[in-house]
C-alpha cells in the first residue's frame, strides 16, 4: 500500500492495487446518509441480516450478533428490510417495529 496521499512519483503505476483484500481499508461508511440501529434485547441472532448484508458489515462472534461495522456499512437498509423480529419499543428510536431500524446518519 502506498503511503496516504502519495505524490504522483510514489503512487502505484496505473492505480494498480498490490495487496489482496485491500478494499477493507477503504471506509465506505462515509457514503452513508442513513444508518441501521439494533435492539440487542430482542435480537434472536437468526443471522438473516448477516446473510443479506452486501458489504459484510454485520460483525458476528461465536454465532451471536455483535455490532454493525459502521466503517463499511453504506446504509443501504437491506438488514432493516429483511429483519424478521419485532420489537415494541426500540431502544434507539422508541418506536415499535423491527429489531433493526434505519435512522438519519446525524440522529
Amino acid at each position: 500500500m502506498p503511503k496516504h496521499k502519495a505524490t504522483w512519483k510514489e503512487a502505484n503505476i496505473a492505480g494498480m492495487v498490490f495487496e489482496p483484500g485491500s478494499s477493507a481499508e477503504y471506509n465506505t461508511g462515509t457514503w452513508r446518509t442513513e444508518r441501521p440501529v439494533h435492539d440487542m434485547n430482542k435480537c434472536t441472532h437468526c443471522m438473516i441480516c448477516w446473510v443479506y448484508c452486501p458489504d459484510s458489515a454485520i460483525i458476528v462472534k461465536d454465532g451471536r450478533w455483535v455490532a454493525f461495522d459502521y466503517d463499511h456499512c453504506k446504509g443501504c437498509g437491506i438488514c432493516a428490510s429483511v429483519c424478521p423480529i419485532k420489537t415494541e419499543a426500540h431502544p434507539h428510536t422508541g418506536k415499535a417495529g423491527k429489531v433493526i431500524q434505519m435512522v438519519l446518519e446525524q440522529d
Binding site: A6, W8, G15, V17
Partner: protein
C-alpha cells in the same frame, strides 16, 4: 552479420510476417478493409501451427481491444490490427489500454473515417486517436511497416514506458502495394525482441493484484501525471531501439527521416507514403538549385517538439502537409500543422509555416502538387507573407 531475405510483400503481408516472427501470446482482432489482409494472413499462420498464438476471433473491434486489455493485464505479449471505423469502435478501450499501461502493439492501416463511406487512405482514423496515450509511428513503405512493428515490441515493453504502440501504414497505397521487403531471419527477430517478462501480471498468483480499480479525485490526477511522464520518456527509448535495430538489420531509425535538410531554406513535412513522392521532387528541385529539404516525421506521439525546432533552425518557410482535418481547429488546419506551429512558437523560431490538406479519402497526390508547394514556399520566403494559412492540394475548387 545481417542475414535477411528479400521478399515481394505488400504492407499488410509485411505486418503479418512481422507478427508471425514476433509470435505474440494473444492476438484478438476483427477484420476491416484495408487491414483485413493482416488478420487474415496471421490467422492462417495460426491455423497452420506456425505460431503459438492464442487467436481470438471477436465480434467487434470494441471486443478486440477489450480482449487485448485482458490478455495484456494477464501478462501476455499482445497484438492486434485495425483501420478507420474499426479504430473508432475501439475508442473507449484504446484509452483504457494506455491508461492501464499495457504494452499492446497495434497495426493501423490508415483509412478515411465515414461518412461518406470510403475505404481508401487518409489519416483521420489514427489522428483522431492522437491524444489516447499511445505511441504513434508512421511508416512510409512496407519495409518501414515491418521494421516499425518489430521495434514497437521493444518500445512498448520498455520498463520506463509500458505504453501501447500504434504502427501506421497507408491503406492500399502501402497496405496493398507490393514492394521489395527485406525480411530478417526468424531467429534475429526473436533475439531482438527477447522474452517478455511482465512486471505486473494478473496470472502472477503468488502476488495478487487489482488492475483498473476505482480511482477517485484523490488519486486519478496523480495517475494521469505518471502517464504523461512515461510518454515524455518514450522518445529516448524510440531512438535507442531504432539504433539497436540498425545494428541487427542494417536499417537504423530515428525520429525523422530528413532529406537534403543540411542547408535547406525551405522545408516540406509530410507523413507516411507521400514522403516518397516528396523526396523525388525535392531531389529534382535541388538539381535546379532550390534550397529545399524534406523532413518526414516517423514519430508523431510523443511529438518531437524540441527535435523539430532543432531540425528547422535556419529554415525560412515550412510547408506542412496533412492527410486529415482537425475540424474546428484554427482555419480548419490539420493536426501535424498545429503541432509544428506550437513547437516552433515554443522554441521562439520565426519560420513562416503554411498548411496543405491533401489526399482525403484516398485522393492521389502527384509530383506537380509538390512543385506547387515548393513554388509557394519560394514566394513566402521572398515576401515573408503567407497568403493563405490552410490550402488544399488536388481539390476541385
Amino acid at each position: 552479420m545481417v542475414v535477411s531475405t528479400k521478399m515481394a510483400l505488400d504492407g499488410a503481408h509485411a505486418a503479418a510476417h512481422a507478427m508471425r516472427q514476433i509470435n505474440p501470446d494473444v492476438v484478438a482482432a476483427y477484420p476491416i478493409t484495408p487491414q483485413t489482409a493482416v488478420v487474415q494472413t496471421f490467422s492462417q499462420y495460426v491455423a497452420d501451427g506456425e505460431v503459438d498464438t492464442e487467436f481470438i476471433a471477436v465480434e467487434s473491434e470494441h471486443a478486440a481491444m477489450s480482449a487485448c486489455v485482458g490478455a495484456a493485464a494477464a501478462g501476455g505479449r499482445v497484438m492486434t490490427a485495425t483501420a478507420a471505423n474499426g479504430l473508432a469502435l475501439m475508442w473507449e478501450v484504446v484509452y483504457i489500454a494506455a491508461s492501464m499501461r499495457l504494452p499492446i502493439i497495434m497495426t493501423v492501416v490508415n483509412r478515411a473515417l465515414s461518412a461518406p463511406l470510403n475505404i481508401h487512405c487518409d489519416h483521420s482514423d489514427s489522428m483522431g486517436a492522437r491524444d489516447a496515450g499511445w505511441i504513434q509511428l508512421y511508416s512510409e513503405t512496407a519495409q518501414e511497416a515491418y521494421d516499425n512493428l518489430i521495434q514497437a515490441v521493444r518500445i512498448a515493453e520498455h520498463p520506463d514506458l509500458l505504453l501501447p504502440v500504434m504502427v501506421m501504414q497507408d491503406g492500399f497505397i502501402t497496405g496493398h502495394g507490393v514492394e521489395r521487403v527485406e525480411v530478417l531471419d526468424d531467429s534475429a527477430v526473436k533475439g531482438f525482441i527477447g522474452t517478455y517478462t511482465p512486471e505486473y501480471s494478473l496470472l502472477d498468483v503468488d502476488h495478487p493484484k487489482t488492475f483498473g480499480a476505482w480511482d477517485m479525485y484523490d488519486y486519478y490526477f496523480e495517475h494521469k501525471r505518471q502517464q504523461t511522464d512515461a510518454m515524455s520518456k518514450a522518445m529516448k527509448v524510440i531512438v535507442d531501439v531504432g539504433k539497436e535495430f540498425g545494428e541487427t538489420s542494417g536499417r537504423s531509425y530515428g525520429i525523422f527521416d530528413p532529406y537534403a535538410m543540411e542547408d535547406a531554406e525551405l522545408a516540406i513535412m509530410v507523413l507516411s507514403s507521400a514522403g516518397g513522392t516528396a523526396r523525388t521532387m525535392v531531389k529534382k528541385l535541388r538539381s535546379e538549385g532550390v534550397k529545399i529539404g524534406l523532413l518526414k516525421p516517423r514519430v508523431f506521439r510523443p511529438f518531437p517538439a524540441q527535435e523539430l525546432a532543432d531540425a528547422l533552425k535556419g529554415v525560412k518557410a515550412v510547408a506542412v502537409l496533412d492527410r486529415s482535418i482537425s475540424f474546428g481547429a484554427m482555419d480548419g488546419a490539420g493536426p501535424l500543422f498545429l503541432e509544428v506551429c506550437a513547437a516552433l512558437f515554443a522554441a521562439g523560431l520565426k519560420a513562416k509555416v503554411v498548411n496543405y490538406i491533401y489526399g482525403l479519402g484516398g485522393r492521389d497526390i502527384f509530383p506537380q502538387h509538390f512543385e506547387q508547394v515548393a513554388s509557394d514556399l519560394q514566394d513566402i520566403a521572398a515576401t515573408g507573407k503567407v497568403k493563405s494559412l490552410v490550402n488544399y492540394l488536388g481539390l476541385r475548387e
